[in-house]
Amino acid sequence: MSCDSVRARLSSYVDGELPHGEAAEVAAHLDGCAACREEREGLEALIVACRSLPRAETPHPEALWARIDAELEAAPSTGEVSWWAGWRARLLGEGWRSWYWTPAVGALVAVLALAGTWGLRTPRAQVAPVPAAAPAPSLSDDALWRDAEASFETAEMHYLRAISDLRRLASREEESWPEDRRRSFDEALAQLERATATCRAAARDRHRDPEAQAVLYRAYREQISFLQESLLRRAGAHP
């Protein structure tokens, strides 16, 4: 089994979801491949970190919605603008090197939480009722879902791998950061992880809802961009 094949299956392997024969092949490859072992360790560390976070409560749509509404009310208004408009405002209005994590992350968490529950509150009209003339299924729904879920899983693997790589980089760099910066970074990251966990729980609960997957990907992207920004800002600090 090649490294690519193994890495494509690592997520399922770590979760114990691979068929026995396939799991044995992956295990044999891991025994002899240090790079793939490192991938597995990174993924396991991330999963452990995510699992150790407080599990997002099963969303009660109305109560949760009210809470999110309240959070949004309290969030700085920058969290409500579009990504592009926010970027431009930061870029042109406030100067590049004067960003601070906490308010932005607070707003982001509120927005992510909103996004994470949005799919639960208002299932969009993408799942249409079957019209009278709907085509008769030839393949089983389960077979189709397996196909779709394999795509979701591959994409998720890529996001998790990027996050794992960035976290590894960050944990190395963090040692040289000032204490207060390190603390605010850790707090902000923890907030983001909790928001991502909420989105992940929503995606798991509604694992056949493509919109829930899209929201989860957005959460991963936000985490990646936060980690990248943190690393680059420290690297780019001109004395």
Binding site: W84, W87, W96, V127, D141, S225, L232
Partner: protein, 323 residues
């Protein structure tokens, strides 16, 4: 076995062309080629998680949608549908598949729909794919392009453009508006960009920017090099940062002020900089060949003009004169 949809020229002539005039809400398209009158089109939203997407701005007051289905099993073809939702000037096109309990836009490896859409240039575009590429050109009201694992290509677009991809190259040319390009893995190639701002960020991949005429430029990679080729705008601000990669500039000689930092590599400049300061060698003045060394270089060429802030945390930085 892959079963192509019957989209031959003869079929197109006989039955494949439909004109939908009274479309008011979500409907499934029937036919491989569909025309929608769109005299005052505002926005075009396309979500094709089932295949590739080619978008072209044209001068006709209508939208043409060409759908090409493919499936390993013939029975699947009927289950693949393109849904169109028209609300005033807002057109949404979504590709999906029928399950026994309804229609859903999901990515499939075993079946798909490739879309080619021509639409009025004035429509603002918002498009996404999952595995397939997006190729958009000729629009005048901006574009938001997003793909999980497909390549993104955009050319000749006016207005704000932003892109997102998880995995895949991005090739953006002739963007006449603010550009914000984001990728996680994959190279970013930018050429002939002249909006007021250019921002490009990638986690793993090389950023290459040629002939950029934006006064505010920010290019950042975590793992990968940054290459900038062309001229600097007088008064422009260029911020090029990488952690694990080199920063290389090939510049036509124009005045600039330089702040370059490469703590683990070296900074070399083919330009005669004045007031060069190096952390390793103190402060002084250096000629073209002398402005090389580890650490930090600060200086000005021809009295300064554009501001260049360059960082490579683990690689090197070089500036060379080009034509």
């Amino acid at each position: 076995m892959r079963m192509p949809t019957p989209i031959g020229a003869s079929l197109l002539c006989l039955c494949g062309v439909c004109v939908l005039a009274g479309l008011a809400r979500a409907d499934d398209l029937e036919g491989d080629v569909v025309y929608l009158p769109m005299p005052a089109g505002e926005t075009l939203t396309v979500d094709n998680r089932l295949g590739t997407l080619r978008l072209r701005g044209w001068d006709e007051p209508q939208v043409r949608i060409v759908a090409t289905k493919r499936a390993r099993e013939a029975g699947m073809l009927d289950r693949l549908k393109v849904r169109v939702d028209l609300q005033g000037g807002k057109l949404a096109i979504t590709a999906g598949v029928y399950f026994s309990d309804g229609w859903r836009p999901v990515p499939l490896a075993g079946a798909g729909i490739d879309l080619t859409i021509d639409a009025p240039r004035a429509m603002a575009v918002r498009a996404s794919t999952f595995h397939g590429f997006i190729d958009a050109a000729g629009f005048q009201a901006g574009a938001h392009l997003e793909s999980q694992q497909g390549e993104i290509r955009a050319a000749d677009i006016r207005g704000p453009v932003d892109t997102r991809s998880l995995e895949g190259r991005q090739l953006l040319q002739g963007i006449h508006g603010p550009l914000d390009a984001n990728g996680i893995e994959g190279d970013l190639d930018l050429e002939s960009i002249d909006g007021e701002t250019l921002g490009a960020t990638v986690f793993k991949g090389q950023i290459t920017a040629r002939e950029v005429r934006s006064p505010v430029v920010r290019l950042r990679t975590t793992v990968g090099s940054i290459i900038f080729v062309g001229a600097l705008m007088r008064g422009g601000h260029y911020d090029l940062d990488t952690i694990d990669g080199d920063v290389r500039l090939v510049l036509r000689p124009t005045p600039f002020r330089l702040l370059a930092r490469a703590p683990m590599g070296k900074v070399t400049s083919g330009f005669a900089l004045v007031k060069v300061r190096r952390t390793s060698a103190g402060t002084g003045t250096a000629g073209a060949d002398e402005a090389a060394g580890a650490g930090q270089v600060e200086g000005a060429f021809q009295g300064g003009g554009a501001l260049l802030e360059l960082v490579s945390a683990k690689g090197s930085i070089s500036l060379t004169a080009g034509r």
